[in-house]
Amino acid sequence: MKGYNYAFLDEFTKREIRRKILKAVAIPGYQVPFASREMPIAKGWGTGGLQVTLSLIGDSDVLKVIDQGSDDSVNAINIKTLVQHTTDVKLTNDTKEASIIQTRHRIPEEYLNEDQTIVFQVPFPEPLRTVEPSEQLTRRMHAEKDYSKIWLYLYENIVQYGDIIFGARYPVMVNERYLMDPSPIPRWDIPRLHNAAFLSLFCAGREKRVYAIPPYTKVEPLEFEDYKFEVENFDGKVCARCGSGDTFLTKSVDDKGNEIWLCSDTSFCEKRRKKNGLFAKSG
C-alpha cells in the first residue's frame, strides 16, 4: 500500500511496543503501559490487538483473525484487510495453519502448538475495575497483591444470586501473583490458558495496556472451596451444522424460526461438517 510503512506502524512505534511486549512476557499477567497510537480503526474495535499483531508480523507469518469465533465477521475482515494491505502476508481461516491468531473474545477450539501466538483484543485490561474505578488505586492493589475487594465481590455474588455471576471476563490468577482479565472470552475458554503450549498476548489500545501469559504458565480462575469455577452448560445441545456437542455453542434461529444451536468457531465447525457429513451426531 503506497505511502505507508510495512505493517502500517512506523518503526519507532513498533520498537516501543516490542520493548513493552518483552517486559510483559517477563512479568506474566502484569499490565504494561504503552503509548498506544491512533489507528485507522476506531478505539474499541481492536486497535490494541492490531498494534501487537503489526509489531509481530513478518513475511513468513500466516494470519488468522476472528471475532466471536468467526472468520467472516465484518470487523475481522476489516482488520485482515488493513494488515494485508500493508504487509502482503498470507491469510487463513484454518487455525492449524496460522502462526498468529488475532481474536476478539474467543480461543479457537482446536489445539494450538508451540509455534503459534494468540493476540487477544482487550476492551478492559483491569480485572479490578468492576470493584474499583480508579486506576491509581487498582495499580496499588496489584503492587501489594491486595485482591480482597474482588474476593468480597465474588462472595457477595454468591450471597445474592447463589453463584458467581461473572460470565465472560472471568478473573484469573496468573503465575500465582497477578490477577488478570482474560478479555471477554467465555468461561469455556479459560482452562485453555492454563499451561498452554502457545504464547498469549493481550492488548488494550484505548486503555493503553499490554500484558502476556507465557506458555506453560499457571492460570487459575478465582473460586471458593465450595463454589468452584464452572464452564458454560449447554444441556446436551449439539451444533445444527456439524453435530458437535463439545464446542462452545451460541443460540440462533433457522429459517423457520426454530431455535437451533451453532458452533461459535466457524472454521472448526466447517471442518467437522465436512468430516461428519451434514447433521451427523458427534462421537
Partner: protein, 190 residues
Amino acid sequence: MIGIFDAQLVFRKVLDAMARPGKVVKLPDISLNPPAENKYPFFILFTLLDHEVEFKVLGAKNMGNTEKMSRYITSNTRSRESSLEDADFILIYGGSSRGRIHEMKRGTLEYPDESTTLIYDVERIGTGMLLTISGPGIRGERKTAIDGIEEEEIRDMDMVNSEFPLGVDAIFSDRYGNILALPRSTKVRW
C-alpha cells in the same frame, strides 16, 4: 542501522527466547560491523533501542573500547549512554558485572516494567556452567548451560530477582548467533 525486516526477525527470536526461558534460539545472520568480536548482541540492541531509552556498556576491555562501542550504538540507534542506575539496556562483557547488578533498575512495585534488560556477551551457549531452571515458559524443569558467565553473576542475579515482580531480565548472546533468555520470573538452580 538495522533493516525493517531484520528487526522484525530479530525481535521474534528474542520474544521466543523470553517467552521460553532456557530455549536456545538462533539469530539470523545479518551483516554488521561493530567494534567488537561478537556482533550478535548488537542485533538485539539495534532492534530495541531508540532515543526514548538509555544504555550502558560494562566490562569492555578498556575505556577506549567502551567509548567506541557507545558511539557506535548511539549513532545507529539515537539512544544515549547513561549512568548505570538509569540505563534501560546494559551490555555486559566478561560474564559478570562485578556486583554492579545490584545498582541496576529493578522497577517499582507499581511499575515493575521500568527495569533494565541485560545483554551478556558470552562464549558459547549450550556448554559450560549448568543451570536448572523452572517457571513460566518452561514445561516442568529444563537444563541449560552457558559458557562465559561467572557463578557470582548468577548468584547476584538470583538475589536481585528474589522479590518478584521487581527484578532484571537477562539475554545471553554468544558469538555463534545463539541466544537464551532468563526473565526475572525464572527460578534458577546452579
